[in-house]
Symmetry: C2
Subunit: 219 residues, 2 copies
C-alpha cells in the first residue's frame, strides 16, 4: 500500500477524530485538515477505492481495519520523532508537532525500529500521548481526567488534550510540564477557574479553558 503524504494526513485525521468506532463527518475532517469539505469528499472516494475507509454518500467516514493499522503506524512515527526532538535535540514540547508532522511521512520500517530503539522504546510522547508499538498496539494506561473534572487534591500532569503551541507555551511559562505535581487550592464556581500550586511556588489560577485541556492522574 503506497500512500501519498496527503492520503496519510487524511488517514491520520480520521483516526484522530474517530473516537472509538464512531463515524466522522466530512466537515470535521475539513476543519481538522484546514481544507474544504469538497476536497474531503474527493479524497474519501479515493480512500474508499483503496479500501482504507468505509464510506457511503452522506453516511460519514470510518477507517477499515487496514486503514486503522496504517493510521497507527503514522501516529507511531509522529510520536517517536517528537520524542527524538525533545529528548535528543532539546526542543521544547511546544515546538515539535509541526516538524514531526513532516518527519512522520518518511516511510522506512528499519528507520523507525532503530529510532525507537535509540530512544529506549518510549511508550509516551512529549505530550503524554501513548506511542503504538511496531504492531500497532497501544498500552492503555490508567484513564486520565481533565483537570477541571478531577476530584483528588494532589494530581500529576499526564498529558494535554490540545497541543497547540499557544497552550503549550502558556504551560511552559507557568512551569507546568509532564509529571508536574499540582495541588488544588480552590475551585471557583463562578467561572470554573481553579487555583493550583506547584511545590515551593506561589499559587496561581488557571482558567476553565486551560484546565479542560490538562489531563491529570491522581497520586
Amino acid at each position: 500500500m503506497n500512500l501519498t503524504v496527503a492520503e496519510e494526513n487524511y488517514i491520520k485525521s480520521i483516526y484522530k477524530l474517530q473516537d472509538g468506532n464512531a463515524v466522522v463527518s466530512t466537515n470535521a475532517i475539513a476543519y481538522e485538515l484546514d481544507t474544504k469539505p469538497a476536497s474531503v469528499t474527493d479524497m474519501a472516494k479515493k480512500l474508499k477505492e483503496k479500501k482504507l475507509i468505509d464510506y457511503e454518500k452522506y453516511q460519514g467516514i470510518s477507517l477499515t481495519p487496514e486503514g486503522r493499522k496504517i493510521a497507527l503506524q503514522i501516529v507511531r512515527r509522529h510520536r517517536l520523532w517528537e520524542c527524538f526532538l525533545v529528548d535528543k535535540l532539546s526542543f521544547s514540547w511546544d515546538e515539535v508537532h509541526e516538524i514531526a508532522e513532516e518527519l512522520e511521512h518518511v516511510r522506512s520500517e528499519k528507520l523507525i525500529t532503530r529510532l525507537s530503539n535509540f530512544l529506549g522504546n518510549p511508550t509516551t510522547d512529549p505530550h503524554g500521548d501513548p506511542i503504538p508499538d511496531a504492531l500497532g498496539r497501544i498500552s492503555k494506561s490508567q484513564p486520565l481526567v481533565s483537570l477541571d473534572k478531577a476530584t483528588a487534591r494532589r494530581l500529576e500532569v499526564a498529558g494535554v488534550s490540545d497541543q497547540s503551541s499557544s497552550l503549550l507555551e502558556f504551560l511552559n511559562a507557568k512551569g507546568i510540564r509532564l509529571g508536574t505535581q499540582l495541588d488544588i487550592i480552590e475551585r471557583y464556581e463562578f467561572d470554573n477557574s481553579v487555583e493550583v500550586k506547584i511545590r515551593n511556588q506561589p499559587a496561581f489560577t488557571l482558567s476553565e479553558q486551560v484546565s479542560k485541556n490538562i489531563m491529570v492522574k491522581s497520586l
Copy 2:
C-alpha cells in the same frame, strides 16, 4: 523561497552535475533524476521563473547564486541525516542514501542546526563527502584521487564517487570503509585491475570499475 520536493530534487541534481561552473544538459538531468527530458524542460522553465537557474532554450542549465545557495542547504541536510543514520542509528553506509533522500526535504532551520550540533558538527558524511556549514561553506580538504590513478604505495580510503548500494555493499564485504588503509601490491595493465592488501589480511584484486570509484589520499 518555498520550494516543492520536486523542485528541491532538481536543484540538487543540477548542483551535483554542475561540476565547477559548467552548464548541465537536459538529458543528463533526466538521467540523474530517472525522468524524461521533456519533464526537465518543463521544470527548467519554472526554476528559471523563480530565478534559481540560468536557462536559455538549447543552451543548457546552470544554477544562479541563489540556486546554488539553496542546493548547498539541501546537500547539508542530506549529509547530516546520513551522519545521523550511521552514527546514531547504526545503519551501514550503503543503506542511508535513500532515507536521507526523503529526510533532506524536511525544512526547519532550527532542526538542522540542532541536528548538526547533536552530531558534533561533522564536516564529512559517511561516504567521505564534505558537509556545507550553515552558511553553505564547504571546507575543502586535500584533493582526492581515485584509486586507479593514485601513485603512492600506501593509501587511505577517503571517499567513494559512486554511492550506489551495490558498490557500497561490495566494499563492505571486502572490508573497505572510510579510513581503511590500503597497500598497492600490483597493478595489471591488461584490465587495469589492482591488487591491494589491508593490514593483516590476504591481498585481493579490485576491477578498474571499482578502483575508479574509490577516492584515496596518500599517507
